[in-house]
Amino acid sequence: MRRLTWFNTTALTLGFAFLYLPMIILIIYSFNESKLVTVWAGFSTKWYGELLGNEAFLSAAWVTLKVAVFSSTLATILGTLGALVLVRAGRFPGRTLFSGMIYAPLVMPEVITGLSLLLLFIGIGLDRGVFTIVLAHTTFSMCFVSVVVSSRLVSFDRSLEEAALDLGCSPMEAFRLVTLPIIAPAVISGWLLAFTLSLDDLVIASFTAGPSATTLPMKIWSSVRLGVSPEINALSTLMIGIVAIGVISASLITKRAALRQEAEERAAVQA
């Protein structure tokens, strides 16, 4: 029954046109000469030049990158621990509460997460800035990491780990030499997810940033509220380009790794 009928072809064409046309238009018009974004006045890269000369955007981009690197790394460590607790720790007092706290932030409206964290930071008298954004981002993205890693841990064959223990590994060595390499793809995709979530976040950062720190989405926000601007088009194009390159090369790498593994397995069988 796998056939491309006219219906399926139309659905796919229209669907993907809907998903991609807005971004394609944005990219095309980022090379527009005119200040008036909806009127085409010839090809130009001047908005990219203006963007790179804009100190405020550059420093916001730097803050965003710092926050994303720190929070996603921290979230990956905590989230992996969280996944181990969910899948491996068995019963312990407060387990239901724990799994609730892992799953709840996934569906929590950002305005509520942001508001509650801000009230906490003010309550304990913590000065708001890069540090508080890192704390906030770590908290919600560690839950995403936990979910990704735990789905991998569930399908993990524990006898491999037991074999390592029987062969004289300490539990820590068994984790490092056997478990970690096997769950590594999930840990890496968890890190990437946490990194993207942090780069992307506007609402939670706005609540927890305070006056001293501005992230790139906050900067974009304050500019797009006033309407469409050619500089934001240029910035969007750069961001879309980076993501597209990242996602496409990641998928090519995993595809090649899968092919290599297949070839090795075939070679092993023949030998």
Partner: protein
């Protein structure tokens, strides 16, 4: 010992940065607004010992919640958020199902690419995806230019800053969340069931309604919840694409907090929003649980 340490670290982190902040919101929603720093009373004062804690308890009340019921801005905002979320979820289903169906019936070697094309927008900035519609929908935007150029309309359509633009924005940004669960349900569907239905005299369309749709039910339910739940508290889309008449509770909360600096009312708004969200969240969890059990 090691196990206890393993549990304590993430547990403690979530308690301190998820549960406690939440209790603070609950507490402030029961407080009164004050012209002070922080702008609410009472604040918990341990220096007076037991009496301080008693006074603190006595000063908490449901006044803010009563205020929410008397000022019709709030319940209108809740109702309008619910309405927008329901309609937008339905529209996303209408747009998403044919795409998922087309993907599931595409030749095998196309599918990884199609999957990547659906996921790719999810990795690009949400804010930028919403922003991209501002240039399309505005009065002098690309859509109006196109329609007027073709002679379909003579006056530009006002779409930006209306609820229509909000629906378009929601369908656009949440579409991958609808497509993916439906696709994974349709992909597992056994094609011989459809052949059997057709052999037994069903037309293609009847077979679709009687076999394909019921068997993709779990995917549809999951997709609808994945769109409905975040949409209800949405802030970015109504603020950028909606107009002054677009009432959504996420926007009200933001304005209450940042513009009016009324923390107790903002907290009360948050508490009610959560109470509304608990029902669909529990239903969603139950659906996922059933799905897992069915998969074995």
């Amino acid at each position: 010992m090691r196990r206890a340490a393993l549990i304590i670290i993430p547990y403690f982190w979530l308690l301190a940065l998820f549960l406690v902040p939440f209790l603070i919101v609950l507490k402030i929603s029961l407080s009164d607004t004050a012209l002070a720093i922080p702008p609410y009373t009472p604040t918990l004062d341990f220096s007076n010992g037991w009496q301080g804690i008693k006074d603190f308890w006595a000063a908490l009340d449901l006044e803010n919640f009563e205020f929410l019921t008397t000022d019709d801005l709030y319940w209108k905002a809740y109702l309008s958020s619910l309405k927008i979320a329901v309609i937008a979820t339905f529209l996303t289903l209408l747009v998403g199902y044919p795409i998922a169906y087309g993907m599931a019936n595409a030749p095998d070697h196309w599918r990884p690419t199609l999957m990547m094309l659906v996921i790719l927008p999810f990795w690009t900035s949400f804010l930028i995806r919403v922003y991209s519609w501002m240039g399309i929908l505005s009065n002098e935007g690309y859509l109006n230019q196109l329609l007027m150029g073709m002679g379909v309309i003579s006056e530009p359509l006002t779409i930006l800053n209306t609820n229509t633009a909000v629906y378009i924005g929601i369908v656009y940004t949440y579409l991958p969340f609808m497509i993916l669960p439906i696709y994974s349900a349709l992909e597992r569907l056994d094609a011989s069931l459809l052949e059997a239905a057709e052999d037994l005299g069903c037309s293609r369309l009847t077979a679709f309604w009687l076999v394909t749709v019921p068997l993709s039910k779990n995917g549809i339910i999951a997709g609808c919840f994945l769109v409905f739940i975040p949409t209800l508290g949405e802030f970015v889309i109504p603020s950028l694409l909606g107009g002054s008449k677009t009432l959504m509770i996420g926007k009200v909360l933001w304005e209450e907090f940042f513009n009016n600096r009324d923390w107790p009312v903002a907290s009360a708004v948050a508490v009610i929003l959560l109470l509304i969200l608990i029902i669909p969240i529990i239903l969603f969890q139950r659906n996922e649980q059933k799905q897992r059990e069915a998969d074995g």
